[in-house]
Symmetry: C2
Subunit: 424 residues, 2 copies
């Protein structure tokens, strides 16, 4: 565990997700007007990096000559590579601790560069190239497999040998706060062999995390598991909204399509691997031993506490319905990336790689309604007398997570979305 | 069938894919140097649209004020919408027939704007957003299903109700002429329950066509089957390279991943819907009748002759191994697009929507090696004494297609790629 909190020129509450130890990147637009640009979250504020760059505070770093922060996405900054990321992080940290006094002592610059969170609109932080969704939680795969095939055949024969994944839809990845219409589509009524066109009745969330890729890799050249972290810029929370009844009818033989491509929500702040470094832990035990291309010299994962809250219409506050941890995943981020490229698939800056639903071994650690309410057979209580097996119109789903430091949190903020009625 | 050939100021052979009736768009870079820009294929030449725009020949059209042709992709032009596409096509056709004499009479402009095909390098024509691959050929689905499950259970229960599709990988879509390394990955040896890491032994092509989407649609708002054509800019040939042994082991339960994401080749010229208009025909009979959102007032498809040629090392000329037609597809482009968006998925300019393997009812009309050689049991003859069940290193696969007009062809050029040995 790291030492106690660093000093900060800003007032940051102890339970804030955004102390000076974190410094996640996002893209914001001031509500008062102005172009979208890159910022860093600090406590209840957003530090405007374009304004700092304009004041020449990065001019002696790798950012000289670029305009990477005066952009509506992080892609240009991500393309600069890890030395630039680390130098930038060190500079921002020095400015915010006061080690470098140029921000602390410049009242006019502070007024220009620090916006209250309430005065900005957060956007998608990254222009996403391809979006891939893994299926890395053995607990999740086992739960779902048990429901549909029984516990003896719950895991497919490939599950313990390779990180199963599918390609997802990038266009419908949306930032936290954008609400989601209940989808309509083809559903096979129980006992029938003819589908109907109807509103989804089994609407679900999936609690996931994802990382953004930085740096291109060459087509035909796999990225080794030991070099994978070079391509990991940072992490966000992901809600992979899922229409279970549509999925059940459509997914054979090529996988989910309409059941997933209507919306995927992400948290707006990208927490860098540098910020997560103190929370790296040993990766999970894996038996059978994976093939050599999946064996890392440094087999690491992350200790990130995650939870899902649900707030139905009429409830005063959200109710926590699931609590789990990123460490429960069977396949690690480096293994995901090595496997993704093993046949030669090339990576591009901005690719989003999600983990799949993160379920743990306990009931409360299940990352989807399908599992929490066990396919509708064990309704969950919302505390206000209501129960749920799947999501109702008006329900707001709020996912969040943080790493617990010594007296501080490195957090991700929220991935939040409300279920709106189907569009007729 | 349309009337005979239009006149042209250029010499265009009768069997050319690119007469004045076609005018497909592409992106090229002169071998002699210069930036990538938009051009149109005419006979053995490329007409440089950026040069025409610079000479003010589009200044009275919808293109006024844009620089859409001085770009390394068609996306900006595609975003202008159908009125701009039609006006541009009409202008180019007038310039090339001589109806508008400003190109014919300007020797200097002709020298500047017309490049021999040998003097240009063709690039990916479109910056691809999301890539989706359908499974629209009932013959293909039936063939593959029969091999793996027998003819009684060949088609999944959903097949005749919805156009099955999966999301593919956009980063590894490559233009014709880029060669492809044989992929390596996890394969389950016959009779074993433990996978090995090995070079793919069952490397295949899939003959497909794809269309590029133009114009955004709103998240949460399906595009109706009757409005789908508004979003179809034009078509290309697609080779969906496939590693059958890797696919077999990995694809359960979420569909193909590594077996497909290592490369997808496309032909470089985008043939517009305007050029294909004379070759629209009635869509296929469909029983059972699809749900209302898939029923078009105008149920159309296209009459496009397609073939696959294979040239092994040492062969003097390629051998035709398959001949089929786009009309054999069960689900039409408009139905694909309506289904893609039915749960609310949004479209973006540059999305590539492929058809899936196009197989017809006859043996010679099968669009993959898997089907042509019936899972390795009926090797195909190459004419030089060699046979094939799947692709060997050094094999070049050439796919092409055209619509047969009255004395002319509206063609697509080639999607070509050679199999290189696996990278150790």
């Amino acid at each position: 565990m790291p030492a106690g909190r660093m000093p900060c020129i800003m007032d940051v509450p102890e339970d804030s997700h955004f102390p000076v130890e974190n410094l996640p990147y996002g893209v914001f637009r001031p509500v008062a007007g102005g172009d979208a640009r890159v910022g860093v979250a600090i406590g209840e504020h957003v530090l405007d990096l374009a304004a700092l760059a304009e004041a020449d505070l990065f001019d002696d770093t790798h950012l000289r000559g670029t305009n990477a922060f005066a952009r509506a996405s992080l892609n240009e900054f991500m393309n600069l590579g890890r030395p630039a990321w680390t130098a930038t992080r060190n500079r921002i940290q020095a400015l915010l601790t006061g080690d470098d006094p140029r921000l602390a002592n410049d009242r006019e610059l502070r007024a220009r560069a620090l916006h209250s969170m309430h005065e900005v609109e957060l956007q998608l932080p990254v222009e996403i190239g391809d979006y891939t969704d893994f299926y890395s939680s053995k607990h999740h795969a086992f739960n779902v497999g048990t429901m549909f095939r029984g516990p003896e055949h719950a895991l497919m024969p490939n599950y313990l040998h390779l990180p199963v994944a599918y390609h997802g839809r990038a266009s419908s990845v949306i930032p936290s706060g954008v609400d989601v219409h209940r989808p309509r589509g083809q559903i096979l009524p129980p006992g029938s062999d003819t589908p109907v066109f109807a509103s989804c009745r089994l609407l679900d969330f999936e609690l996931e995390m994802g990382f953004f890729v930085a740096g291109e890799s060459e087509l035909g050249r796999p990225v080794s598991v030991d070099r994978a972290a070079d391509h990991i810029f940072g992490f966000v929370i992901v809600n992979d909204w899922s229409a279970r009844d549509i999925q059940k009818w459509e997914y054979q033989p090529l996988g989910p399509f309409n059941a997933k491509n209507f919306a995927t929500s992400i948290s707006p702040w990208v927490v860098t691997l540098d910020a997560l470094e103190p929370f790296r832990i040993d990766g999970p035990a894996q038996a059978p031993e994976p093939l050599p291309y999946l064996r890392a010299r440094d087999h690491w994962t992350l200790d990130i506490r995650l939870d899902v809250r649900l707030q139905a219409e009429g409830m005063d506050a959200p109710q926590t319905i699931a609590e789990t941890n990123f460490r429960h995943l069977y396949w690690t981020p480096s293994q995901q990336l090595a496997h993704h490229t093993i046949t030669g698939c090339n990576l591009r800056t901005g690719d989003l790689i999600a983990s799949g639903t993160i379920s743990g071994p306990e009931r409360r650690e299940r990352g989807s309604m399908l599992e929490l309410a066990w396919r509708g057979t064990e309704p969950i209580e919302l505390g206000n007398g209501e129960t749920r097996t799947f999501l109702n119109d008006g329900d707001t789903v709020i996912m969040t997570g943080y790493c617990a430091g010594d007296g501080y949190r490195v957090g991700f903020g929220d991935a939040r979305g409300k279920v709106l009625p189907a569009v007729e």
